[in-house]
């Protein structure tokens, strides 16, 4: 670990020098030069901000992707709702007191440059949905049951592009601010020893409230003058790191010392804490194995998490199970500024496969 930090620290210092000077010298040639100019006025804070990650390996960037709208999916476009046959205008003659007139058109508008693979039977063209209950007496006509809405294709795979992996600096207030109202309500109810679920709940409650690692003293995520000025640097740093790291994997890596039991457990625990499960959901019956590659900074290379194998559940459940697992991995690396793994054993954890779930009957 310490070795890693030292190296990383050294690397970062070097980096900064290079950024500073190299930037000045090489500026003209580089497209990013615009950004680099900002770097030349690194403030104390910013410097600190840059340096800090040295402890937690590298690239802390705030990558405000907003700035350069990378190929954002949602190419703005005019909502095409007009094209939608607006069939069901008739105000449903609801009961006297009914305030709502449940007639809807679901329009598949909001066109969006989403690359929907295997788009299922296109978003049910405004299959005009008429009111649930049109006229009071119209009992017989079973209201056309339109699927609530066109269900859209599964979320795209984890090709989260080359976007930066920024250190998450978990939100300082979100966790406390939302007291998760239900929990207290359940607790009292769960007070019977006769109930299976209640026993179960005993167990689950505790973690429920404390799980989210209150990572790092809530330091202001972004204050008045946030490190907004540095992203370019970080970009460069990250890119460089990626490049630097990339060659490594190819040539065989010395595996380094085996992970100790404790180290394995620590890693496991860190992922476990990010895997949000839902005992009531069908996807809990799925067992999915995901694989990914880590770089030396202990982050997922390219944010790519692949499905190695999957079993149990139906297609929808499998899709969700994989998404949940993927999210656990990606979220975790962010929360912890990279997984907790010993640098010297890089070769042992460069490739990771994690099996999520235990299968069997959900809820048991």
């Amino acid at each position: 670990m310490r070795l890693g930090w030292t190296l990383s620290g050294a690397g970062h210092l070097g980096l900064m020098l290079v950024v500073l000077f190299g930037g000045l010298f090489a500026g003209e040639q580089i497209p990013e030069s615009v950004v680099l100019s900002e770097v030349s006025i690194l403030s104390e804070e910013e410097f600190a901000a840059l340096a800090r990650p040295a402890t937690a390996p590298e690239t802390q960037s705030d990558a405000p992707q907003v700035a350069l709208p990378e190929p954002v999916q949602d190419a703005p476009e005019a909502p095409a709702e007009d094209s939608a046959p607006e069939v069901s205008a008739p105000e449903p003659v609801e009961a006297p007191e009914t305030p709502d007139s449940p007639e809807f058109e679901v329009e598949p508008p909001v066109p969006q440059a989403v690359v929907v693979e295997d788009a299922p039977a296109e978003p049910a063209p405004p299959s005009e949905i008429d009111g649930t209950t049109a006229t009071p007496d119209q009992v017989a006509a079973p209201a056309p049951r339109v699927a609530p809405v066109p269900q859209v294709a599964p979320p795209p795979e984890a090709e989260a592009g080359p976007e930066l992996i920024e250190d998450s600096t978990p939100d300082p207030e979100a966790p406390p601010a939302e007291p998760q109202e239900d929990t207290p309500a359940q607790a009292p109810e769960a007070a019977s020893d006769r109930i299976v679920t209640e026993a179960e709940e005993e167990k689950t409650y505790a973690p429920a409230s404390s799980k989210r690692p209150r990572s790092r003293p809530a330091r202001p995520v972004r204050t008045a003058e946030p490190p907004r000025t540095t992203p370019a640097t970080d970009d460069a740093v990250a890119a460089a790191l990626a490049e630097a790291a990339a060659p490594d994997p190819e040539p065989a890596v010395a595996p380094g010392p085996r992970l100790s039991g404790g180290q394995r457990e620590d890693f496991k625990a860190s992922v476990q804490n990010c895997w949000i499960t839902d005992p009531g959901a069908p996807w809990m019956q799925v067992v999915v194995v995901v694989g990914f590659e880590l770089d030396r900074s202990r982050k997922v290379v390219g944010n790519k998490v692949r499905q190695v194998s999957i079993e149990g559940g139906d297609a929808a459940a499998q899709r969700t199970a994989f998404e949940k697992a993927k999210r656990a991995v990606l979220r975790c690396q962010n929360q912890n500024g990279g997984f907790r793994l010993p640098a010297e054993s890089f070769g042992r954890w460069q490739q990771v496969e994690i099996k999520f779930g235990r299968g069997g009957v959900a809820l048991q």
Binding site: S8, P69, E91, T98, T132, V196
Partner: protein, 441 residues
């Protein structure tokens, strides 16, 4: 150029000397326990695309958020924690900012109020950690009076896309509103949105009404009323005021009706000469079939979602237990074997579970078991919990919880089938006998 330099330095600094050696296999770990906590999401305040829509935008945002949070599966990150605002419906999403506050999903919406007073509500959902939209954007249109339904529809979409399960927010619940003391209770047939809003009455409080049930399409309701002085089954169209008696025997009690999944037949109980059995009525032809003929009590029937079987309770073994038989009648098979008494079985719309009321050792429970009777789990415990009904997606149960004592009164509660998220449904008055509608069209 600069990158090259950086790489070089890093390569030197970080990538310590490597000996050529074969790589070890992947690090493999197995995780069977995760955390059970609400998934943090950000329901960004819906944008009002014109001034007239701003009030609706706010209210719709609130309902969408309330729907999602109400499941116990999500936590809405407060706006005050946002790093970036949603500046426009089509503005690019700063994923990093949402990731930084740990939002797994981001909901962006916009509301327009057209000159003819119609609401247009569109939304997009983003998977923050994957940095990509989750499904397509969608738009709903409706009258201003239906703004809640529009909001529920948006929430249904969000829920379905994130969880991979269908949702249940745009649904209604028929129930009995109760007032007055225990020994002179007035009961009134009522319908509300699943969250307690938009209450509407189907009857006055002049006679006892019991156990209303929605038709599979949600447009009709069966219930038992003492209006004639005698308990009989009636059917009423939602939104109508005129009910009709099913025209069964007028000299024997009929009760506990339920529609078959085809909506054309009704299974119910009839007590003749003190003996209660199950019957099947064809609504069109009026033809009746007796399904059971035992000296024991057979009641509280419910169809399997595919219509092929009926689950019911019977005390033929000496105490109330659950049985399943073919929908055409035939030899029942007992499925409950635990301690205590089992009643009011209801088949999950998913088909996988049967929910029931269990009475044991002086307490009442709502529980679920697999359709073969295995994997019984009790979800609640109280002085009196009774009569579960499934949310359209088979994920949540609503039921009646009555408090003890002379001032005891019933209320509606809901609980996730995991046994979590138990809470009272916000009815304005005391209430009982809930039955959930299917997801509305």
């Amino acid at each position: 150029m600069i990158k090259f330099c950086l790489s070089l330095i890093l390569a030197l600094g970080l990538a310590a000397p490597l000996t050529a050696q074969e790589r070890s296999g992947p690090l493999r770990i197995e995780i069977t326990e995760g955390v059970i906590e609400p998934v943090p999401i950000a329901v960004a305040p819906f944008l009002a695309e014109n001034a007239a829509a701003s009030d609706f935008a706010r209210r719709i945002t609130d309902v969408v958020a309330a729907d999602l949070i109400g499941t116990g599966l999500f936590r809405n990150i407060p706006e005050s924690a946002y790093i970036s605002r949603v500046s426009g419906f089509d503005a690019p999403v700063a994923y990093a900012d949402w990731r930084a506050i740990n939002a797994e999903a981001l909901v962006v919406g916009a509301v327009t109020l057209s000159s003819d007073n119609r609401l247009l509500v569109k939304f997009r959902l983003f998977d923050v950690f994957s940095g990509a939209p989750l499904g397509e954007g969608l738009q709903f249109a409706g009258s201003t009076g239906s703004w809640r339904r529009v909001a529920h529809k948006v929430a249904d979409q969000v829920y379905a896309r994130i969880t991979g399960e269908s949702a249940y927010f745009d649904s209604r619940v028929v129930y009995v509103e109760t007032t007055g003391p225990k020994n002179a209770r007035q009961r009134r047939l009522s319908i509300m949105d699943y969250d307690g809003a938009n209450v509407q009455y189907l009857s006055d409080a002049s006679s006892i009404v019991l156990a209303p049930r929605f038709s599979p399409t949600g447009d009709r309701v069966l219930f038992t009323s003492y209006e004639s002085g005698f308990p009989q089954i009636y059917e009423i169209a939602v939104g109508a005021t005129q009910k009709r008696a099913l025209g069964l025997d007028t000299d024997s009690m009929t009760f506990a009706p339920r529609y078959a999944p085809d909506g054309r037949r009704v299974v119910y109980s009839e007590a003749k000469g003190g003996n209660t059995d199950l019957y099947l009525l064809d609504l069109q032809s009026g033809k009746r079939n007796r399904l059971t003929s035992a000296p024991s009590i057979e009641t509280a029937p419910d169809f399997s979602p595919d219509g092929s079987q009926i689950v019911f309770e019977s005390d033929r073994s000496g105490g109330q237990q659950l049985y399943i038989m073919p929908a055409s009648g035939g030899e029942p098979k007992r499925i409950s074997f635990g301690q205590g008494r089992y009643g009011t079985p209801v088949w999950s719309p998913r088909g996988d579970y049967i929910a029931f009321t269990k009475q044991n050792a002086g307490r009442f429970h709502i529980g679920v078991m697999r359709t073969d009777g295995s994997a019984e789990r009790l979800l609640t415990a109280s002085f009196l919990d009774e009569g579960p009904t499934w949310a359209p997606n088979g994920r949540v149960l609503m039921f009646t919880r009555e408090t003890a004592g002379s001032d005891g009164e019933p209320a509606l509660f809901s609980v996730d089938i995991s046994g979590r998220n138990l809470k009272r449904v916000a009815t304005g008055t005391a209430a009982s006998d809930p039955a959930w509608s299917p997801l509305l069209p």
